[in-house]
Symmetry: C2
Subunit: 254 residues, 2 copies
């Protein structure tokens, strides 16, 4: 059973990378074989798993372009059960390279065909945009997981994102599911947090994960040590939330 999941939302700073890194680590801790693909030129997921983007060498750029086979680009990480295809700052250039090519949305899907069966989960961290790299990620995926920050501006973009997902389903990937909407940076003391959470649950009934990721400073400290939350502080609220999310994801699949 291999499931490819894109972590996407064009709104910035909603917790895409934090979810990609820590969900991968949690799935690894639960004995799943995980590959994380960093599809964001900022390369935050690459550094969040302890690699230095400037030293990481070849990665997602070569993967999409087709210059290298996927298995040649996979690197080990210090996180049990998790491998990575890193991003490089030049990744943004691949959009201009493939923009005029036929079937430009399918480059990543094609590149992943041979390695899908090696992993239980392939997690793709996307940039805050709906450009060609993100479209490639959505076309290559079985499902999309949408982190939603419990703030007002984060609500505004949701309709547009779900429209884009519908278009991808119609044009490029009819099997694309919505894995779920994940409430992030939830602070139960704030009225705004509770209002946004209630609104998302009432508008998108059935699509929202039971697990809510609470605001937890340990989650924002961990990347500065190049560690995922389980390695950094396994007893923290953040580690607990992402382990629960991983269990919910696994239970859904069976």
């Amino acid at each position: 059973m291999s499931r490819v999941i894109a972590i996407a939302n064009q709104k910035g700073g909603v917790g895409k990378t934090t979810t990609a890194v820590n969900l991968s680590a949690a799935l690894g801790a639960l004995e799943k074989r995980v590959l994380l693909i960093d599809a964001d030129p900022q390369a935050n997921a690459t550094s969040g798993l302890g690699l230095k983007p400037e030293d990481a060498g070849e990665g997602t750029y070569e993967l999409i372009e087709g210059a290298r086979k996927a298995e040649e680009l996979i690197q080990a990480t210090t996180t049990p059960g998790v491998s990575i295809i890193p991003a490089h700052l030049d990744l943004v250039a691949v959009e201009l390279e493939i923009i005029d090519q036929p079937k430009r949305e399918f480059f990543l899907a094609k590149a992943l065909q041979d390695i899908r069966s090696t992993y239980d989960y392939i997690i793709i961290d996307c940039a805050p945009s709906l450009g060609l790299i993100t479209l490639n990620a959505l076309t290559a995926s079985d499902a999309v997981l949408v982190p939603i920050q419990c703030e007002y501006y984060a609500l505004e973009g949701l309709g547009k994102l779900l429209n884009t997902i519908k278009k991808v389903q119609e044009l490029h990937n009819e099997d694309l599911d919505v894995e779920g909407l994940l409430l992030t940076m939830f602070d139960s003391r704030l009225r705004l947090s509770n209002q946004v959470a209630d609104e998302v649950r009432s508008h998108f009934e059935g699509l929202v994960f039971e697990t809510v990721i609470h605001r937890n400073v340990k989650l924002s400290e961990a990347p500065s040590h190049g560690e995922n939350i389980i390695a950094y502080d396994a007893g923290s609220k953040g580690a607990e939330n992402y382990l629960t999310l991983a269990q919910e994801l696994i239970a859904k699949a069976s």
Copy 2:
């Protein structure tokens, strides 16, 4: 004296829109004539100033494309001293329209020539990307103001952004200054916040605004009422911080 300032940083969720909206409102409160241009397809600055993006009609798309004169696209807002050219969800399409055209980075600069002298400040809110719309904004600007969230991932992208600004200065706009680096969402109780602030100040001495924007829930509540922070809660820490920032900006210019 007219100064065009782009609010830019490819890292998502660092406070670009919050700064664009509330700095504009603060400058307006200090009797300056301000135009806000929403150059982000998410159209958060448009709704932050109380307009509905789906009803806003023509705006930044027509401005960049050259279909309309700038003065035909300017709308009033309920914020004293502040007018707006709104964004529409289709704005993202303009990148594909101008990508093959000569001098594609100069469309916005050309469109603003006639109206610059009408305003003391023109503030451009950018998307979390370094694509063609943001390049147009940097080419059209006298200076760029970079919000930096006091978090680890926000530090990582800084080097790349400053490189991009250097390239724009060399290729398209030699007069482009760095107006300053603005520390945002600072929480004095958090060790991480203080570490990041110290690191930015030591690495970029002389470029960092004295004013620091503190984390303040009122700033994230205001947009859900379509209000800027001064209208929403003039006595809040957020309103105080943005008024101080506006004063610091005005003092720098003289």
